[in-house]
Symmetry: C2
Subunit: 333 residues, 2 copies
Amino acid sequence: MKKLINNPDHVVEEMIDGYVKAHSSYVKRLEENDRSLVTSKETAEGKVGILIGGGSGHEPAFMGYVGAGMADGVAVGNIFASPPPAPILEVTKAIDKGAGVVYLYGNYAGDVMNFGMAADLAAMEDIQVEMVIGSDDVASAPKEEKEKRRGIAGEFFIYKTAGAAADFGYKLEDVARVARKTNDNTRSMGVGLSSCSLPQTGKPSFVLDENEMEVGLGHHGEPGIRKAPIDTADNVADELLNHILSDIEINEGDDVVVLVNGLGSTPRMELYIMFRRVEKVLKEKGINIYRSYVGDYITSLEMGGASITLTKLDDELKKMIDHPVDCPMFVQR
Amino acid sequence: MKKLINNPDHVVEEMIDGYVKAHSSYVKRLEENDRSLVTSKETAEGKVGILIGGGSGHEPAFMGYVGAGMADGVAVGNIFASPPPAPILEVTKAIDKGAGVVYLYGNYAGDVMNFGMAADLAAMEDIQVEMVIGSDDVASAPKEEKEKRRGIAGEFFIYKTAGAAADFGYKLEDVARVARKTNDNTRSMGVGLSSCSLPQTGKPSFVLDENEMEVGLGHHGEPGIRKAPIDTADNVADELLNHILSDIEINEGDDVVVLVNGLGSTPRMELYIMFRRVEKVLKEKGINIYRSYVGDYITSLEMGGASITLTKLDDELKKMIDHPVDCPMFVQR
């Protein structure tokens, strides 16, 4: 696959370089580690720090979400690979304002290991760390083993609510509680239509037939639950919603926030056609959509497909969802 | 190509339906015409109305830019096809607050004809209309014939500045003057890597070889100035910038706003790698980047590639660029 890149070994380095130059009023690189980015704005003393991160290739995630109302810093890994402990630790030290730091990341073996090691190192520097691991993908493990599930687009809502809670002056354990509640209340599932290719190989990371889709596909091409001929947007949305709604109790009169997320190369047109169906189905069930997000929030390079995320809201989470955000790749007024 | 759609004949209808449902606090459909969308918020009496529009398939353009600080309404065409006069006229009538309406659209034969007819019909209803036609694509006609050029991603800056001018209470002729000055000061050029396909045919709208790019490609697959083997991001950026900078006088010490726009399926990573080079080249020339935009602003379904836009700024345009915006697909604080 053709790419607008220079040396494939330098894509992450050059992306960060361009990103920091484009948004220098928002983010800066730490001198201590060039994979450590933090907000350019002064963070208030006593505010809990929000640290996000993971592999590259998921932009706007993760670095696009550093800014007011969301994360204070990000550790940037190679493409689809966790950052090592060093950049995580440096961000931790930079954003700790005496109130501790919450790490938010997805449930992948590499991330769990590296963020865990960084937390141990932070403890040795007397920085308190709480970790909240996103595990929203219903296709990736049975209902009884939610803690084994992958984190996909629903992680966005964890950053959103935890970032707001920290802004509101919540203490470390309360920010973590809000983040965990969000994860507990969040379910996602996706469909893949076409693969992406890693810059270093140029080869597709998985292969689908010309007319085939993969239901439940993960964000790095992890296998889904079935391959099938491509179906209508309405049928696909129904299938994803059925899995989500049979996994979490959302009743008539409940409020949810909805995210229809594009995986990279899916036109907005198709995402809105998917959203149209989601809205119809939820309306028929008497479930109220409190707020909607439609677009590319967590991608996989140029992968084709989409995911649907629902998060069940209580009054506290509604307040967090409504809080304004000002990040380079996401702004909410 | 695989698409998440239902009936290919209904994609625009269903997209609008999903869009209005997702963002009902921002936009509503007019009862008079289902291709006419206007802001949900009350527009102040005496404010000049901003009307944008064109074919579908370019999302976020055009309907994503209806909201505070940008457009008051949009007329939505079929895919890559101008809206007819009727939806344009209905939007005009709905958003005219006694101060007239400015039409902003790209220089395509269908748009020129249909917006022109709508303006004639509006005149018969005693609504004053000014029209400003985007013509920023340097690859599409010689320098001496700028008025023959296509409008591409640079149109975004015309909406941005005209929307701000209207918000600041400028009169009709002054809003139009700001929009025209923006167009006069704007140059863009793009590169295509891969085609998109129309939902009704499923066939690519043009074909490039596996390793080929097309420099100067238009937003609907209009031919560029040369086809060549794919080159590095830096070389491509240099080539586009050379064309732009030899077309407009931008001197050391001048201020510009930069847009690196993705055509649909280009990962953000690649856009930032392109931006990195643009920043470097402009810095070497002593040209100051006043503000940067990197992302999908005007797309062509799932087309692969990117464009670079520069707009030379004076103090008035800086003020317009800085003005906040709150639209469903673009927010600036």
